[in-house]
Protein backbone atom coordinates (compact mmCIF):
# COMPACT_ATOMS: atom_id res chain seq x y z
CA UNK A 1 0.00 0.00 0.00
CA UNK A 2 1.28 3.47 -0.89
CA UNK A 3 2.19 6.26 1.48
CA UNK A 4 1.54 9.73 0.15
CA UNK A 5 1.85 13.20 1.56
CA UNK A 6 -0.20 16.29 0.71
CA UNK A 7 2.75 17.81 -1.11
CA UNK A 8 2.99 14.78 -3.42
CA UNK A 9 -0.44 15.39 -4.92
CA UNK A 10 -1.21 17.62 -7.89
CA UNK A 11 -4.53 18.91 -9.07
CA UNK A 12 -5.73 17.11 -12.24
CA UNK A 13 -3.65 14.02 -11.57
CA UNK A 14 -5.40 10.68 -12.05
CA UNK A 15 -5.23 8.07 -9.34
CA UNK A 16 -4.70 4.41 -10.28
CA UNK A 17 -7.91 2.81 -11.52
CA UNK A 18 -9.39 -0.34 -10.05
CA UNK A 19 -10.87 -2.91 -12.43
CA UNK A 20 -13.58 -5.44 -11.60
CA UNK A 21 -15.37 -8.07 -13.62
CA UNK A 22 -16.73 -9.29 -15.88
CA UNK A 23 -19.52 -9.27 -13.33
CA UNK A 24 -21.37 -12.50 -12.73
CA UNK A 25 -24.44 -13.47 -10.77
CA UNK A 26 -22.03 -15.05 -8.27
CA UNK A 27 -20.58 -11.60 -7.49
CA UNK A 28 -24.07 -10.28 -6.85
CA UNK A 29 -25.18 -13.24 -4.74
CA UNK A 30 -22.04 -13.25 -2.61
CA UNK A 31 -22.53 -9.58 -1.84
CA UNK A 32 -26.26 -9.91 -1.21
CA UNK A 33 -25.62 -12.80 1.18
CA UNK A 34 -23.01 -10.87 3.15
CA UNK A 35 -25.25 -7.80 3.24
CA UNK A 36 -28.41 -9.82 3.86
CA UNK A 37 -30.13 -7.85 1.16
CA UNK A 38 -32.70 -10.22 -0.30
CA UNK A 39 -34.41 -7.90 -2.72
CA UNK A 40 -35.36 -10.10 -5.71
CA UNK A 41 -34.03 -7.60 -8.25
CA UNK A 42 -30.59 -8.95 -7.28
CA UNK A 43 -31.25 -12.67 -7.81
CA UNK A 44 -34.62 -13.36 -9.49
CA UNK A 45 -34.27 -12.74 -13.21
CA UNK A 46 -37.98 -13.09 -13.93
CA UNK A 47 -38.93 -10.68 -11.13
CA UNK A 48 -36.28 -8.19 -12.21
CA UNK A 49 -37.11 -8.24 -15.90
CA UNK A 50 -40.87 -8.76 -15.88
CA UNK A 51 -42.08 -6.99 -12.76
CA UNK A 52 -39.49 -4.22 -12.52
CA UNK A 53 -38.78 -4.02 -16.27
CA UNK A 54 -35.04 -4.10 -15.63
CA UNK A 55 -32.60 -5.37 -18.27
CA UNK A 56 -31.34 -8.17 -15.98
CA UNK A 57 -30.69 -8.78 -12.31
CA UNK A 58 -28.68 -5.77 -11.18
CA UNK A 59 -25.47 -5.22 -9.28
CA UNK A 60 -26.04 -3.91 -5.75
CA UNK A 61 -25.47 -0.20 -5.30
CA UNK A 62 -23.57 -0.88 -2.09
CA UNK A 63 -21.21 -3.26 -3.95
CA UNK A 64 -20.38 -0.43 -6.32
CA UNK A 65 -19.87 1.89 -3.37
CA UNK A 66 -17.40 -0.51 -1.84
CA UNK A 67 -15.39 -0.71 -5.04
CA UNK A 68 -15.13 3.07 -5.14
CA UNK A 69 -14.27 3.19 -1.45
CA UNK A 70 -11.57 0.62 -2.13
CA UNK A 71 -10.26 2.76 -4.99
CA UNK A 72 -9.89 5.85 -2.81
CA UNK A 73 -8.75 4.08 0.36
CA UNK A 74 -6.04 2.20 -1.56
CA UNK A 75 -4.79 5.48 -2.98
CA UNK A 76 -4.93 7.29 0.37
CA UNK A 77 -2.77 4.52 1.80
CA UNK A 78 -2.07 3.70 5.39
CA UNK A 79 -1.42 7.30 6.40
CA UNK A 80 -4.38 9.00 4.72
CA UNK A 81 -7.98 9.07 5.89
CA UNK A 82 -10.94 8.76 3.57
CA UNK A 83 -13.15 11.38 5.24
CA UNK A 84 -16.12 11.91 2.95
CA UNK A 85 -17.49 10.24 -0.15
CA UNK A 86 -20.61 10.84 -2.19
CA UNK A 87 -22.25 8.78 -4.94
CA UNK A 88 -25.16 9.33 -7.27
CA UNK A 89 -27.06 6.38 -8.71
CA UNK A 90 -27.69 7.27 -12.32
CA UNK A 91 -27.17 3.98 -14.11
CA UNK A 92 -27.46 0.25 -13.49
CA UNK A 93 -24.86 -2.44 -13.90
CA UNK A 94 -25.66 -6.01 -14.85
CA UNK A 95 -23.88 -9.38 -15.19
CA UNK A 96 -21.36 -9.25 -18.03
CA UNK A 97 -20.28 -5.68 -17.27
CA UNK A 98 -16.60 -4.95 -16.81
CA UNK A 99 -16.11 -2.00 -14.49
CA UNK A 100 -13.39 0.57 -14.02
CA UNK A 101 -13.40 2.62 -10.83
CA UNK A 102 -11.50 5.83 -11.59
CA UNK A 103 -10.56 9.01 -9.79
CA UNK A 104 -9.00 12.39 -10.43
CA UNK A 105 -7.74 15.07 -8.05
CA UNK A 106 -9.79 18.23 -8.52
CA UNK A 107 -8.77 20.41 -5.58
CA UNK A 108 -6.31 20.70 -2.70
CA UNK A 109 -6.96 22.52 0.57
CA UNK A 110 -4.25 23.40 3.06
CA UNK A 111 -5.88 22.73 6.43
CA UNK A 112 -2.72 23.02 8.51
CA UNK A 113 -1.35 20.82 9.99
CA UNK A 114 -3.03 18.53 7.43
CA UNK A 115 -4.11 18.68 3.83
CA UNK A 116 -7.46 17.80 2.29
CA UNK A 117 -7.66 16.55 -1.28
CA UNK A 118 -10.91 16.49 -3.25
CA UNK A 119 -11.40 13.88 -5.93
CA UNK A 120 -13.89 13.30 -8.68
CA UNK A 121 -14.67 9.59 -8.91
CA UNK A 122 -16.74 7.31 -11.09
CA UNK A 123 -17.46 3.78 -12.19
CA UNK A 124 -17.43 3.17 -15.94
CA UNK A 125 -18.65 0.06 -17.72
CA UNK A 126 -17.12 -1.38 -20.87
CA UNK A 127 -19.17 1.04 -22.98
CA UNK A 128 -17.80 4.04 -21.10
CA UNK A 129 -21.11 4.72 -19.34
CA UNK A 130 -20.44 6.28 -15.94
CA UNK A 131 -23.46 5.25 -13.91
CA UNK A 132 -22.20 6.13 -10.42
CA UNK A 133 -20.53 9.54 -10.48
CA UNK A 134 -19.28 10.88 -7.21
CA UNK A 135 -16.74 12.79 -5.21
CA UNK A 136 -14.49 12.17 -2.23
CA UNK A 137 -12.40 14.11 0.27
CA UNK A 138 -9.23 12.58 1.69
CA UNK A 139 -7.16 13.92 4.59
CA UNK A 140 -3.41 13.50 4.09
CA UNK A 141 -0.44 14.22 6.32
CA UNK A 142 2.06 16.85 5.30
CA UNK A 143 5.69 15.98 4.82
CA UNK A 144 7.35 16.18 8.25
CA UNK A 145 3.93 16.90 9.77
CA UNK A 146 1.92 14.94 12.34
CA UNK A 147 0.10 11.73 11.49
CA UNK A 148 -3.60 11.99 10.69
CA UNK A 149 -5.20 10.98 14.00
CA UNK A 150 -7.35 7.92 14.41
CA UNK A 151 -10.22 7.97 15.18
CA UNK A 152 -10.57 10.92 12.85
CA UNK A 153 -12.23 14.07 14.15
CA UNK A 154 -12.59 16.91 11.63
CA UNK A 155 -11.92 19.43 14.41
CA UNK A 156 -8.21 18.61 13.95
CA UNK A 157 -8.32 20.37 10.59
CA UNK A 158 -7.11 23.92 10.49
CA UNK A 159 -9.23 26.70 8.99
CA UNK A 160 -9.84 26.72 5.27
CA UNK A 161 -7.59 29.23 3.57
CA UNK A 162 -8.74 31.53 0.83
Amino acid sequence: MTTICFEDVEVSQDIPSLFKGPMTTAHIMRWSAAMENWHPIHFDWRFATEQHKLPDVIVNGSWKQHVMLQLVADWAGETGWLWKIRFQFRGMNVPGDTLEAWGRVVAKHDRHPFGVVDLQIGLKNQKGDDGTPGSASVVLPKRNGPAVPYPFDPRVLGPQKG
Binding site: R30, M35, S62, A73, P151
Partner: protein, 153 residues
Protein backbone atom coordinates in the same frame (compact mmCIF):
# COMPACT_ATOMS: atom_id res chain seq x y z
CA UNK B 1 -54.63 7.13 -9.44
CA UNK B 2 -55.63 9.82 -6.96
CA UNK B 3 -54.65 13.33 -7.92
CA UNK B 4 -53.13 15.40 -5.13
CA UNK B 5 -52.88 19.17 -4.97
CA UNK B 6 -49.48 20.77 -4.56
CA UNK B 7 -50.42 21.82 -1.04
CA UNK B 8 -51.36 18.25 -0.14
CA UNK B 9 -48.10 16.85 -1.55
CA UNK B 10 -46.15 19.46 0.41
CA UNK B 11 -48.10 18.54 3.55
CA UNK B 12 -47.27 14.85 3.13
CA UNK B 13 -43.59 15.63 2.70
CA UNK B 14 -43.44 18.04 5.63
CA UNK B 15 -45.02 15.39 7.87
CA UNK B 16 -42.02 13.12 7.25
CA UNK B 17 -39.48 15.45 8.86
CA UNK B 18 -38.16 14.29 12.21
CA UNK B 19 -36.87 11.12 13.91
CA UNK B 20 -37.80 7.78 12.35
CA UNK B 21 -38.60 4.98 14.77
CA UNK B 22 -36.39 3.99 17.69
CA UNK B 23 -32.58 3.62 17.62
CA UNK B 24 -31.60 0.07 16.73
CA UNK B 25 -28.43 -1.88 17.59
CA UNK B 26 -26.63 -4.83 16.03
CA UNK B 27 -23.22 -6.46 16.46
CA UNK B 28 -20.51 -6.39 13.79
CA UNK B 29 -19.97 -10.04 12.86
CA UNK B 30 -16.68 -11.47 11.61
CA UNK B 31 -18.43 -13.67 9.02
CA UNK B 32 -20.23 -10.76 7.42
CA UNK B 33 -17.04 -8.69 7.32
CA UNK B 34 -15.05 -11.46 5.66
CA UNK B 35 -17.78 -12.30 3.15
CA UNK B 36 -18.19 -8.67 2.12
CA UNK B 37 -14.47 -8.13 1.61
CA UNK B 38 -14.14 -11.35 -0.39
CA UNK B 39 -17.15 -10.45 -2.52
CA UNK B 40 -15.32 -7.43 -3.95
CA UNK B 41 -11.89 -9.07 -3.99
CA UNK B 42 -10.70 -6.65 -1.32
CA UNK B 43 -7.83 -8.54 0.27
CA UNK B 44 -6.58 -5.77 2.56
CA UNK B 45 -5.63 -7.81 5.65
CA UNK B 46 -7.36 -5.35 7.99
CA UNK B 47 -10.63 -7.06 6.93
CA UNK B 48 -9.40 -10.56 7.88
CA UNK B 49 -6.54 -10.54 10.34
CA UNK B 50 -6.68 -8.97 13.79
CA UNK B 51 -2.90 -8.72 14.13
CA UNK B 52 -2.64 -6.93 10.79
CA UNK B 53 -5.40 -4.55 11.82
CA UNK B 54 -3.69 -3.81 15.15
CA UNK B 55 -0.44 -3.18 13.33
CA UNK B 56 -2.17 -0.47 11.31
CA UNK B 57 -3.54 1.12 14.50
CA UNK B 58 -7.10 -0.19 14.43
CA UNK B 59 -8.82 -1.67 17.48
CA UNK B 60 -9.55 -4.91 15.64
CA UNK B 61 -10.72 -6.35 12.32
CA UNK B 62 -12.19 -3.55 10.23
CA UNK B 63 -15.54 -3.90 8.47
CA UNK B 64 -16.01 -2.61 4.93
CA UNK B 65 -17.93 0.64 5.27
CA UNK B 66 -20.96 -0.51 3.24
CA UNK B 67 -21.68 -2.95 6.07
CA UNK B 68 -23.54 0.10 7.40
CA UNK B 69 -26.32 -0.90 5.06
CA UNK B 70 -26.84 -4.11 7.02
CA UNK B 71 -28.45 -2.02 9.75
CA UNK B 72 -30.84 -0.71 7.16
CA UNK B 73 -31.74 -4.13 5.81
CA UNK B 74 -31.93 -5.88 9.16
CA UNK B 75 -32.90 -3.36 11.76
CA UNK B 76 -34.76 -0.38 10.46
CA UNK B 77 -38.38 -0.97 9.68
CA UNK B 78 -39.93 2.08 8.15
CA UNK B 79 -41.45 3.23 4.97
CA UNK B 80 -42.02 6.70 3.70
CA UNK B 81 -45.68 7.50 4.10
CA UNK B 82 -46.13 9.24 0.77
CA UNK B 83 -49.41 8.77 -1.05
CA UNK B 84 -48.58 10.65 -4.22
CA UNK B 85 -46.36 9.30 -6.97
CA UNK B 86 -45.63 5.76 -8.10
CA UNK B 87 -42.09 4.98 -7.02
CA UNK B 88 -39.33 6.01 -4.63
CA UNK B 89 -35.88 6.14 -6.20
CA UNK B 90 -32.59 6.05 -4.31
CA UNK B 91 -30.76 9.04 -5.72
CA UNK B 92 -27.60 9.72 -3.74
CA UNK B 93 -25.57 8.61 -0.73
CA UNK B 94 -23.05 10.72 1.13
CA UNK B 95 -20.86 9.26 3.86
CA UNK B 96 -18.70 10.87 6.49
CA UNK B 97 -16.29 8.49 8.23
CA UNK B 98 -14.89 8.96 11.72
CA UNK B 99 -14.23 5.58 13.41
CA UNK B 100 -14.35 2.22 11.65
CA UNK B 101 -16.79 -0.52 12.54
CA UNK B 102 -14.73 -3.18 14.31
CA UNK B 103 -15.66 -6.85 14.63
CA UNK B 104 -17.36 -7.29 18.01
CA UNK B 105 -18.62 -3.70 18.16
CA UNK B 106 -22.28 -3.10 18.81
CA UNK B 107 -23.42 -0.35 16.49
CA UNK B 108 -26.51 1.74 17.11
CA UNK B 109 -28.15 3.65 14.31
CA UNK B 110 -30.58 6.53 14.59
CA UNK B 111 -32.48 7.72 11.55
CA UNK B 112 -33.91 11.18 10.97
CA UNK B 113 -35.62 12.74 8.00
CA UNK B 114 -33.78 16.05 7.82
CA UNK B 115 -35.58 17.68 4.92
CA UNK B 116 -38.38 16.98 2.48
CA UNK B 117 -39.46 19.30 -0.26
CA UNK B 118 -41.47 19.33 -3.45
CA UNK B 119 -39.62 20.11 -6.63
CA UNK B 120 -40.63 20.25 -10.24
CA UNK B 121 -39.14 17.29 -12.12
CA UNK B 122 -38.97 16.79 -15.87
CA UNK B 123 -42.22 14.80 -15.85
CA UNK B 124 -44.05 16.49 -13.00
CA UNK B 125 -43.90 16.99 -9.24
CA UNK B 126 -40.94 15.36 -7.54
CA UNK B 127 -40.60 14.78 -3.82
CA UNK B 128 -37.04 15.04 -2.51
CA UNK B 129 -36.41 13.48 0.89
CA UNK B 130 -33.11 13.66 2.76
CA UNK B 131 -32.52 11.03 5.44
CA UNK B 132 -29.59 11.03 7.86
CA UNK B 133 -28.40 7.95 9.71
CA UNK B 134 -25.87 8.32 12.52
CA UNK B 135 -23.93 5.24 13.59
CA UNK B 136 -22.31 5.09 17.03
CA UNK B 137 -20.46 2.27 18.73
CA UNK B 138 -20.71 0.88 22.26
CA UNK B 139 -18.08 3.41 23.39
CA UNK B 140 -20.28 6.30 22.34
CA UNK B 141 -17.99 7.16 19.43
CA UNK B 142 -19.60 8.50 16.28
CA UNK B 143 -18.49 6.05 13.58
CA UNK B 144 -20.18 7.41 10.50
CA UNK B 145 -22.92 9.61 9.15
CA UNK B 146 -24.81 8.48 6.07
CA UNK B 147 -27.00 10.98 4.24
CA UNK B 148 -29.32 9.55 1.64
CA UNK B 149 -31.39 11.44 -0.89
CA UNK B 150 -34.56 9.77 -2.11
CA UNK B 151 -36.83 10.94 -4.89
CA UNK B 152 -40.56 10.27 -5.03
CA UNK B 153 -42.15 10.57 -8.45
Amino acid sequence: MTEFSQAEMERQLAALIGPVGEPVSMAVELGAVRRMAVAVDDFDPIHYDEAAAHKRGFRGIVAPWPLLWSWFFNCTEYHLDIEFGKATVHGQDEYEFREPLIVGDVITVTTTIMAARLKQGRTGPLGQVEAERRFTNQHGQLCAVLKTTLFRR
